[in-house]
Every structure is written in C-alpha cells, then in structure tokens.
C-alpha cells in the first residue's frame, strides 16, 4: 500500500511516498540517501542501524517508516552541529574506538542517548547501554573508554562540572596503568617522530560521521538488484532448472543458470596438485545447502525475490555425508566424482598441471593432505619419560564481520568491468574474476571502498561477485548483490572444524622429545582452503616449540557441509588449542608449572625452522614471562577455593606469519610529492578496520620527515594504486609497509639530490624531519615544500615521485609445498602469549572471562593505538570462539544463521584487557615491524580451557566451553 508520509529527520521534514512494509532503515538509506545508518542484519540483532527516535535508540530495521511519523529522528548525519563534531565523535576518533567503522554510527547514537539521560555514567552504565550494539573489531574496550572520556569532557566543558562516578572504574584503571607502563617502555626505544606514535586514524572522521563509503553505499544510476537461488538440499543431482516462468515476470532483467557458465571454474586453491573445483553456479550437482543454482537481476529486491520463487528446479536427492571421519570411509558417498581437468589459473605464473586423483590418499573424499616428518618419532617416544594421547575437537565458527558481503558491478560498453567489492585483496579478486569472466586482468577495475570488517571472510571470490559482473554484462546496467545475514553465515565460508589427535612424549622436566599429530579438517562441499589450512595449522605451530621428533599428518576432507575458508589466524586457533591444552595436562601429570614447561620448549631468536625459515626476531619467551608477571599468575594459579564462584588462570602462546609469497607475489607503492609539502601515497592495500591506511601513511611520513596530516592515501584500487599482496597472512605491516618505506625513501633521495646541490652539502649529510630538510642544524636548510618547489623549477618540472616494492622472501619464486610443508613460508613471525583469568559459577557452569593479559611481539608497534585495537579484537574474537560461538549444523543445515542465535561477544561480557608489547625489532620489517592483526586470537582458546581446569578441575577438550558442558562434567564427577 503506497502512501504519502512525512518524516522529520535531523530537523528537516521530508515528504515521501512509501510502501507500508518499508522500514525506516530502507527509507533513510534508499530514499533519503542517509547511508551512514548501516544495515548489518536487518532483523534487530546487531545495532548497526541504530537511530534515535524521539531521543531513544531504536533499530531502524525494525521500525516501519510509516510508524515513525510524528517522531524526531536523528541519524549520524545529524549529530555534528554547524560543522562541529559531537564530543563523542571526537572521542571515538581520538581514542581508537573506530576500526572498520561499520558499527560506529550506531554505537555513537546509542551513547549519545545515554549521555543525554545520564551525563555521568559509570563504566557499567556504558556497557549496559551499548549492549545491543555488536562490534566485531574492537572488543568494546576502546569504545567504552571513548564514551567515558566524552562524558568527562562534556561535563568539564558544560556549566556545571559533574564528576564521573568512580565506583566501577577501578578495573579499567588497573588495565590502563599497565598500558602506561608498556607505553613508557616503548618510548624508550622509539627515536621516531611519526611511527611508534598513537596517532588517531586517518579514516576516523569519515567513519564517525557516517561518510565512509562501503560497497552497500555505492549507488549508480539505473542499478538493478541481483538475488541468488540456492539449494535446499545437501547433495542432489540437478535434473531440471526451468526459468521460463520467472523470465516472464515483469521487472526481471536477466536470469543466469549453471548452464550459462558451465565452463567457468575457479577456486582459492588452484595448484598443480589441486585443481579448481568451484563453478559460479551449480552445473550438474548441488553439494551443500546454500549452493548457488541461479541468479536473477531485476528492477528491485521484491521482484528479484519473486522471480527466484518462480524458478522450477527438479532434484534427484543423493546420499550425503556430514561427518568428515565418515566421509573418509570407503563406502561414503563421493562428493566430487571426477577430477577436474584443465589449466591452472596460475599457469601464466609457471604452475604446471599434473593430474591427480583422490584415490591415492587411501581414503575417500580427501581434498588435501599435508605430511611432515622431522627426526624419528619412534625413537623419540622411546626416549620419553611420559607420553599422553588426547583428542581435541573444535567447532565451526563464523567471521561475524558487521558489514554483509556486497558486490556492485558495472560493465561499460567498452568491455571494461567496474566492480566494488567487500574484499581483502583487490588484486587477487581482480585476477580470479578476470580469468573467470574471460577478460584481461587489466580490463577489470576494482574500485576502492572501505570494508566493514573481514577477518578472512572476504578473501575468496564468491559466486555472487561473479554473478553480479555477469548479470551486468547481460543487462548493460549496474547490478548490485548484497547478501542477507543468513547468506553470509551459510555461504561465505566458515572456520574449519578440526579433529586433532595428539600424542606427545616428554622428559621428566617437560622437554618435548616426540610428537605425533593427526588432524582432520572438514572443508565442506568444495575444497575452499582445505589444503591450505592443514598446511598452516602446522606452519603456525612449528615456530613455537622445539620438537626434535615430529610427525604430522593433516587431511582436509569433503563433506556436504557449507564451505570452509580462511578465518583470522587460519588454522592456528585449532591447533594451538590442542597443543597448549595438552601441555597443561602434561604439566599437571608431572607436577610442573606449565609456564616452566612452555619456556623449556620455547623457540628463540636465531632458531632455524625445519623448512629453513630463520627466526631473526623472536620475542616468544619474553612474551610468556611478561604475561605471567603482569597477570599475577603466581598468586592466582592453583588457588584453593570452596565458594560457589571459583577463579582460575591459564596460559597459551601463538605465532603468525608476516606475509607469504602468493599472488601477486609482491607489494608496490608510490608517492607523489606536492608543491605545498604534502604527499599522496598510492598503495593497493585494503582498509578493513586494521588501520592500514593510517600506518602506511605514518611510514611514508616518517621516512620523508613530514607529519601524518601531510599524507593523503589512495588505497585498495586496482587502477589508481600499484599491485599489492593484500591483507591476508598478515603481510600488511611488513610487506606493504616495506614497499611504502622504500617508495618514500626513493622520493627522499631524489629530493635530497636537489637540496644537496642548493645547500652545497653531500646528500648523506641531510636529514628530513619536522617538515624540513637540513644539514645538521634544522635552521640550515629548507622546508619540505620549498624543496619540492625547487625540484620543479630546477629539474625540468620534476615534482618527484617515489617508487618502492617488496617481495616477501625475494630469493624464492615458489609457493611453499602445501603437501610437504617444504620451502620457505614467510620472512618473519609475530608472537603472542596470553594469560586468561576466568570465574566459573559452580552452580550453573557459567564462565566469566575476568581478565586477559596479552603480550605481543609485533617487532615494532607502528601505531600503538592501532596495535592495541588489533589485540583487543583478537581477544574478543578468541573469547567468543572459546566460550559461546558455535555454528550449529545438522545434516548440512545451519540452524543459527543470525546474530541472535550465533553469539558474538557483547559489551557486557568484555573482560579487562591488559596488553603490552615486546619490541623485538624485525630486521626485515619497516622500522622493525611485523605481524599484529591475526595471531593473538589463537592463544585464547587453550588459555581459557586451562583456566577453567585451574578453577574447577574440569577439562574440556571440545569447543566451545559452554556452561552446560561444565555443569554436566561437574555433575558426572559428583556422581
């Protein structure tokens, strides 16, 4: 029913024609163009769409537009007054409370309503107020701090100074003190002006005002809406896909089915050994519930949806298998019947196809195998004083990025394809998309947008992206496909659940002499990153302990479950959970302190790993000892307790690559110097919340001796920026960072040449600092801008452009072998150690995470504020995955594909965070920097499991550590 309504938004009246069923969110975004209000779920379960209705926060996705008449509506766009930002907006920007920014407008508005009603809130008040606003990136620590800081500032600036209630703030003060200690230590080693400083993010202001543009915000004239038809069956042959009824529906512009693209095949893994096994749309079979069958482009969403319901599909149901151990059995249904043949997409880069067959594995449905043997395990176990064998199981988890995946594609008549994608590497997506569409790589232009969180879930090229491009080619119009939250949960990859059988032999003092690992990863219906995750589980584990005799067999297995893919620290959380849980048990068996056992086995600087990687920096032991000291481990471990609430502590460690050699094998960067002394930095890296835009600008500014404010960054665009590895395997800081540093250094050298001629001093005597270039005394020299202008005038117009590039492991031109784990993996490893303190309610089994102490070796913190934010995010995600996150699957059906039923951590469960850094100064990294974004999730799981054991004597070897499991274990023990 269409009717006129009048909405009062941000103080102005708007008369609009709306349908009864349009929500306020629809109307704000689509009719009024106020895209600062974000859509995270559309069902009231995330808070991203929060707006103020008569001063109270409400979910715009739940409010019918028509029912909002007569109310005063405030969106993020209405918060700044007369060009002046609200103190909350400033505090969020200054205090690092913004990462990807997708949750930010909603949280800020919720906080505004709180401060309007309660100008002096306690920390607990803040946490309660923002409890409905999910944030996957920050772990809420900095958000809470920013809101309290804004309250304090507003009270100071206001007429009456209301003092903040101090009651519940002691806890955060402890944590802050620890941060301060770490800061002063850091300052001691930092002789730099821009890097190493906690500077506010460059993208912060765009994000706190709702102006940052994400894919879903892109609007092009004549844009059609695309939708995808998905399989309701886990395994079935497609007998018939009939689109004749759907085609006739008015408003339908194009329909595509598997038959149209039967010859298109691609995959994340497409190596000589493992052929690509995915089609954009199912051709002959569907292999999981959610598998893509057809795609429709139509004038609007309702029409597209209706068209899907008019497509007639006939299935022949096939037997399906969901348990990887069963799938490996000889009589199991075979999910991929034949091997795929044809060229590898990497052939141009030297990959040769050698046909393989799954039969040789000796099991059914194997999609990948990794075998590693070091030393002689049989001999090793013979030497052991104590041997333990345990089986660990990890669950399926979701990335939970607040921005749902979205693609906009626009084919130009010239044959050029423009796309806007939720991605983590624009160059990787460009390559795969171009190959799949039969275009030249350079015909595809991936445009720059902000990404609302990714955590590994936006790496792969997905069918919806291909379909958007294909449908745009068919219709000649732009096409947008935005996935629903349910589609995101089911079809955009999940973390591999693993079964890990672990046998470890130790000497009496805890020294590991032998270890045997059998690992099974369920990779779902398509190979996804199966062969990669079983390789990485080994590769992220091997840099931690010295194990002289070691045998590792990892299998990735096809099942009819949803596809699994990369997720933060890809493979590490699972194996680290098993390893450090078992080490804790071993320490208990032997009556030793687990910290001693860890230190007894921990690797050190200078160690050479079995594959040849050299640990040129390694702060592992220091991370462990500092985390133990700071957390109060000694007083807290093994407390005798009798009350209902019991506390315990546990520890674990983890490590992570800093980039690896994969397409496009290198990162490049460029800087252009402007005649006013500012520069533009061109980098292909992505900004998905991790702060790359800012840290890369800091590196360039430091190298050139200018300020962060002088740098403008063009990022994440395949035409405007040079190639870049993108943001997986944590190469951002080291690889892209190095390229940026070299680009800036190149420009500096050119500029120094000009200045040296003018000042008549040799270039090596020159320094660039504080926006000046000078010889010895800053007064003897000139400003940066003057130097650039001089260069133009004296050098035939050359304004100076600098170029830099960096290839991780420059001497290797090969991927490491996934099957044998041979060949170099990465230039450097980041490390972390974490102590978790929990409180268990013995009556209900509930676990409260009290405090997490993380010490991280990221080489050198380029921006401590951002590094802290990354650690907080890892802690929060680790907390969720240890305690409450679990994708529930039965016969391939996901039963909880929503933020309501899949429990991401919320503000109320946020633990106290103490964090510190160990600056090991990696020689290859820019200013000594290496990985920080991923690793420290992996230590959380065992740390929490061990802490629960310490508290109540219950050992859980399967995740998550849910209340009912503890309760049942306790009750079973009590008899």
């Amino acid at each position: 029913m269409k009717e006129w309504i009048r909405l009062r938004v941000n103080g102005s009246d708007h008369d609009l024609i709306v349908e009864s069923h349009w929500t306020l969110l629809d109307v704000l975004r689509e009719n009024l163009g106020l895209t600062g209000t974000k859509r995270g779920c559309d069902t009231g379960e995330c808070g991203a769409c929060t707006v103020l209705v008569d001063g109270l926060p409400r979910n715009a996705c739940l409010v019918l537009a028509r029912s909002a008449q007569g109310c005063a509506i405030t969106t993020i766009e209405g918060l700044a007054r007369g060009g002046e930002l609200h103190p909350l907006q400033l505090a969020f920007q200054e205090r690092g409370a913004v990462q990807c920014g997708y949750c930010t407008p909603g949280v800020i508005l919720t906080a505004k309503a709180l401060l309007d009603h309660n100008p002096a809130p306690t920390e607990d008040d803040v946490k309660a107020a923002i409890a409905g606003n999910l944030c996957r990136c920050t772990g809420y620590v900095k958000i809470t701090e920013a809101i309290l800081a804004a309250a304090e500032k507003m009270n100071h600036d206001g007429a009456s100074i209301v003092r903040c209630k101090a009651t519940d703030r002691a806890s955060s003060i402890v944590a802050r003190q620890q941060v301060k200690d770490a800061l002063s230590q850091r300052r001691a080693i930092n002789e730099h002006a821009v890097v190493g400083q906690s500077l506010p993010r460059l993208d912060g202001l765009l994000k706190v005002t709702g102006q940052a543009q994400y894919v879903g915000d892109v609007r092009l004239p004549g844009m059609h809406v695309g939708k995808i038809l998905r399989s309701p069956h886990a395994h079935a042959r497609l007998v018939k896909v009939d689109i004749s009824r759907a085609e006739k529906l008015p408003g339908v512009k194009a329909i595509m089915t598997g038959r149209d693209v039967a010859n298109v095949r691609y995959a994340f893994v497409d190596t000589p050994r493992y052929s690509a096994d995915e089609h954009p749309l199912a051709v002959d079979k569907v292999r999981y519930i959610g598998d893509e069958i057809a795609a429709v482009a139509a004038v609007d969403e309702e029409t597209a949806e209706e068209a899907l319901s008019l497509i007639d599909v006939e299935y022949e149901i096939l037997p399906a298998v969901f348990d990887p151990e069963k799938a490996m059995q000889p009589n199991a249904p075979v999910i991929h019947d034949a091997d795929y043949e044809g060229a590898s997409v990497w052939e141009e880069w030297g990959a040769q196809r050698t046909p393989t067959s799954t039969a040789r594995y000796g099991y059914n449905n194997i999609s990948g195998q990794t075998t590693v043997e070091i030393g002689d395990v049989a001999r090793g176990f013979a030497l052991a004083d104590h041997i333990r064998t345990d089986r660990f199981e990890t669950q399926v988890t979701a990335h939970g990025a607040l921005e749902p995946h979205c693609a906009v594609a626009h084919y130009e008549p010239s044959g050029k394809l423009n796309v806007w994608l939720s991605s983590m590497s624009v160059f990787y997506k460009r390559y795969i998309l171009a190959k799949a569409l039969g275009l030249a790589t350079s015909q595809v232009h991936v445009h720059s947008v902000y990404v609302g969180g990714a955590f590994g879930g936006k790496i792969d090229v997905f069918p919806y992206e291909f379909c958007a491009a294909y449908l745009s080619r068919q219709t000649g119009q732009p096409v947008k496909i935005e996935l629903t939250r349910e589609e995101v949960f089911v079809t955009t990859r999940q973390r591999h659940p693993m079964i890990i059988e672990l046998k470890t032999g130790v000497k009496r003092d805890g020294a590991i002499v032998a270890q045997k690992v059998k690992l099974i990863a369920d990779n779902g219906a398509y190979r996804g990153t199966g062969p990669v995750v079983i390789f990485l589980a080994h590769a992220f584990n091997v840099p931690i302990y010295r194990v002289p005799n070691f045998k590792y067999t990892g299998y990735s297995v096809y099942t009819n479950n949803p596809i699994r893919g990369p997720q933060r620290a890809h493979g590490a959380p699972q194996i680290r959970f098993a390893m450090d849980s078992q080490l804790d048990l071993i320490a208990r068996d032997l009556g030793l302190d687990p910290v001693k056992v860890m230190l007894r086995n921990a690797r050190e600087k200078g160690d050479v790993l079995p594959n040849g990687d050299v640990l040129e920096s390694c702060g592992l032991k220091e991370c462990i000892t500092r985390a133990v000291e700071t957390s109060g481990w000694r007083e807290k471990r093994g407390r005798a307790q009798t009350g209902r609430l019991r506390r315990g502590v546990g520890i674990s460690a983890c490590s992570m690559f800093s980039g690896a050699p994969f397409y496009p094998f290198a990162s490049a960067a460029a800087v252009q110097l402007h005649d006013d002394g500012a520069i533009t930095l061109f980098t292909g890296t992505m900004e998905m919340g991790q702060g790359a835009e800012t840290t890369m600008a800091q590196i360039a500014a430091e190298e050139l001796g200018i300020e962060l404010a002088d740098v403008r960054v063009i990022f994440g665009d395949t035409e405007l920026a040079p190639i870049d590895l993108g943001n997986f395997l944590s190469g951002g800081a080291l690889v892209t960072g190095k390229a940026v540093q070299l680009a800036a250094a190149d420009a500096k050298q050119q500029l120094f040449k000009v200045v040296s001629e003018m000042l008549e001093v040799p270039p090596e005597k020159l320094t660039a600092r504080g926006r000046r270039i000078f010889a010895g005394d800053p007064k003897i020299g000139m400003s940066f801008g003057e130097a650039v202008r001089a260069s133009i005038l004296r050098n035939g117009g050359n304004p100076v452009m600098g170029r830099g590039y960096y290839k991780p492991l420059p001497d290797t031109d090969q991927y490491p072998s996934l099957a044998r784990a041979k060949g170099r993996f990465t230039p450097a490893y980041g490390y972390a150690a974490q102590v978790a303190e929990v409180e268990v309610d013995t009556l209900t089994g509930e676990v409260r995470l009290v405090q997490v102490t993380t010490f991280h070796d990221c080489g050198f913190p380029l921006n401590p504020l951002i590094v802290e934010g990354q650690i907080d995010g890892n802690v929060s995600m680790g907390q969720g995955q240890a305690l409450c996150e679990d994708v529930i699957l039965r016969e391939g059906q996901v039963f909880n594909p929503s933020f309501l039923t899949y429990a991401l951590p919320v503000s109320l469960t946020q633990p106290r965070a103490a964090r510190g850094e160990v600056a090991s100064l990696e020689p290859k990294g820019p200013f000594g920097a290496k990985e920080v974004g991923e690793g420290s999730i992996a230590g959380m799981l065992a740390a929490i499991a061990n802490a629960v054991h310490d508290a109540v004597g219950v050992r859980l070897t399967s995740l998550p550590i849910a209340a009912e499991k503890i309760l049942l274990a306790q009750n079973a023990r009590a008899g």
Partner: protein, 330 residues
C-alpha cells in the same frame, strides 16, 4: 518482505472491529519487532498460519500505553514499551522480578520498541518453526522436526505433538506474580489470570494462548506482593544480552523466618508455556527455604521428560532453581 497494509487504530474498539472485519489474515502489530522483523521478513507462514495481509497498529491507542498504579496493584497498558516498564522506579520498587526479567530481554534498542503485549504474545523461537523450509505442526503442517532433529533448545516438560518452549521472559515473571490480562474482543472485555492464559500444544498447536483472532490484549494487572515476600529472577543465556532464555526462573516467595509460606516458582525455557513448578513449591511448603533449596530444586527432575539432545537442561533447571531460591532469600 512481502507487502501488507497497515492501519492505525485509534481506540480498542476500533482495533477490535477492524480485526473482525478483516478476518484471519489481519493481525495486531505493536512494535513489530517479532511480527514484522521476525515472522514476516523471514516469511514464516503455512496452512495454519497465513501470511498477514493487514496489520493493525495498537501503539496509537492512548489507553493502551502507560502504567497506572493503585494501592493494591499496577496496571500496564499492553502497548507500553518494555523499557518504559523496566525503567519505572515504582515498578522496580514494587515488582523487581518483572523489571529484572524485562532488563534481560533482547537489547536496549529492542526494549525501546517492543511492547509488553508483543512480548507476551510473540511467537516461539523453535528453529524449525522459524526456518522457512520446515512445514511443521505449528504452521499447519504434519510433522514435528524437533522430535528427530536437533532439539537442544526444545521443551523438557509438557511437550506433546509440539515441543516449543515459551519465549517470553515477561510471561514467566508475570505468572510468578499472579498477574492477569484484560482482553477485548467483539464479544466485550474479559479478564484472564495468566494461570489460564497460556495453552499447550494439546489444546491447539497453532497458538500459544487463549487469545482469539479478533481479540486484543488491552492491559496487564499485577497485584502488590504480600508482606514478607521475596523475589528473584535468573536467566541463563550465553551472553547477557539478546539471547532468549536457555532456562529462566522467577521466584516469588512469601516466607516467615526463612520458612516457605506461599509463593510461586515459575520456569521459562523449559515448556510450551511458562511453567509453574508446583513440585518444587510443594517440596518447600512449610520448610526452611535455605536448607531445602537443593532438594526442592531436584524435584523438577521428577516431572522432566527430556528429548534426545536436551537432558542437560534438566541439570541446568535444577541448578537455576536452587540458585534463584537462594538469591531470593539472600
């Protein structure tokens, strides 16, 4: 979402007459957080559950919004938002178990929108019911998928044919408080005790209460507590926000020197209706609460009939009953 028509009702009478005029495809809507965002956006419908074509907004009826306090009771308009009730100092003072239960509902944003009537009358969360693909008894189909499927969150008491648990936290607290509802329909207005308001699947699998299609819940009346009455609320869930109760317990205990005189122990999350645990109440009658809490709580095991994957809920319920009893007298 499929299109529908939306009408504002000006009075209760207005709403009732529209309902009877439009017939079964018309539904009352308040905040819409369950009906529109939960049921209609996900297109949950079936033979016994037609997709609503006409919605009648009752938040526009002044008499249905607000709290009226009397010497012996409070009367709350059914279209009052959950946060307006939870944040009312008088309600917190007089009926803490209700305000605590409301603070445990959903999120602050949803509580600013969702209403008491909507909360009490919301549809169940059984994931088969909420899944578009499953045509189960409750939607007019001929199967209960929970019997053979993953039933970890389903009922452990009183299931039959259908094994939902009642989703409303407010309902659990209101039953413990011995509250009643005023209902208006074409035939006039009636008052129903919550004891008699909720109905199990045996009576009618297509609904969860006695409300007829042309009826509107106008308000809820809660008597003041007897002297020496202690109350407590517990809800177990993964996080402290959003999640529906795995198990919840409301205790209203009138005591004398620690001895149970009268009261109610009501459980949410265990049965198709808010479940009054009379076995527990009986086990406490005339006894010292503190000393007998554990044994009384264990009495719930005698009435529980768990399904294949939810026996753990019996342990959880037992633990929570004990905890809530102890909290009440603490």
């Amino acid at each position: 979402m499929k299109a529908f028509e939306l009408y504002d009702a000006a009075t209760v009478q207005d709403a009732v007459s529209m309902l009877s005029k439009f017939g079964p495809a018309a539904k009352v809507v308040a905040g819409g957080s369950d009906l529109v965002a939960g049921v209609m956006k996900d297109w949950i419908h079936g033979k016994g559950m037609p997709y609503p074509e006409k919605l009648i907004d009752v938040t526009t009826i002044p008499e249905m919004v607000g709290i009226k306090l009397a010497s012996d009771s409070a009367t709350i308009g059914a279209a009052t938002t959950l946060s307006a009730i939870a944040e009312s100092p008088q309600m917190q003072k007089g009926w803490r178990v209700l305000t605590d239960s409301l603070f445990s509902v959903a999120s602050p944003e949803i509580r600013n929108l969702g209403t008491l009537g909507g909360n009490i009358n919301q549809r169940p969360r059984c994931w088969f019911f909420r899944g578009e693909k499953f045509s189960c008894y409750k939607k007019g189909g001929d199967f209960c998928f929970a019997v053979t499927g993953d039933n970890r969150y389903n009922a452990i008491i009183g299931g039959e044919l259908c094994y939902i648990v009642h989703p409303s936290d407010a309902a659990t607290a209101l039953l413990a408080l011995n509250a009643s509802a005023t209902i208006a329909g074409t035939g006039g207005t009636r008052t129903v005790q919550f004891d008699n308001y909720f109905t199990g699947p045996r009576e009618d699998v297509l609904r969860e209460n006695i409300l007829k299609p042309d009826e509107v819940m106008v308000n809820v009346t809660i008597p003041r507590l007897a002297p020496n009455t202690k109350t407590a609320w517990t809800k177990l869930k993964f996080r402290q926000v959003y999640d529906f109760a795995l198990v919840s317990v409301a205790v209203v205990a009138t005591q004398e020197n620690g001895v149970w005189k009268d009261g109610r122990v009501v459980l949410g999350g265990v049965a198709p209706v808010p479940y009054r645990a009379k076995v527990v109440e009986q086990a406490l009658a005339g006894k010292n609460i503190k000393e007998n809490a554990k044994a009384a709580a264990a009495a719930i095991k005698t009435v529980a009939r768990p399904m294949s994957a939810n026996a753990y809920k019996v342990d959880v319920a037992t633990a929570l009953i004990e905890k809530t009893l102890l909290d009440a007298i603490a």
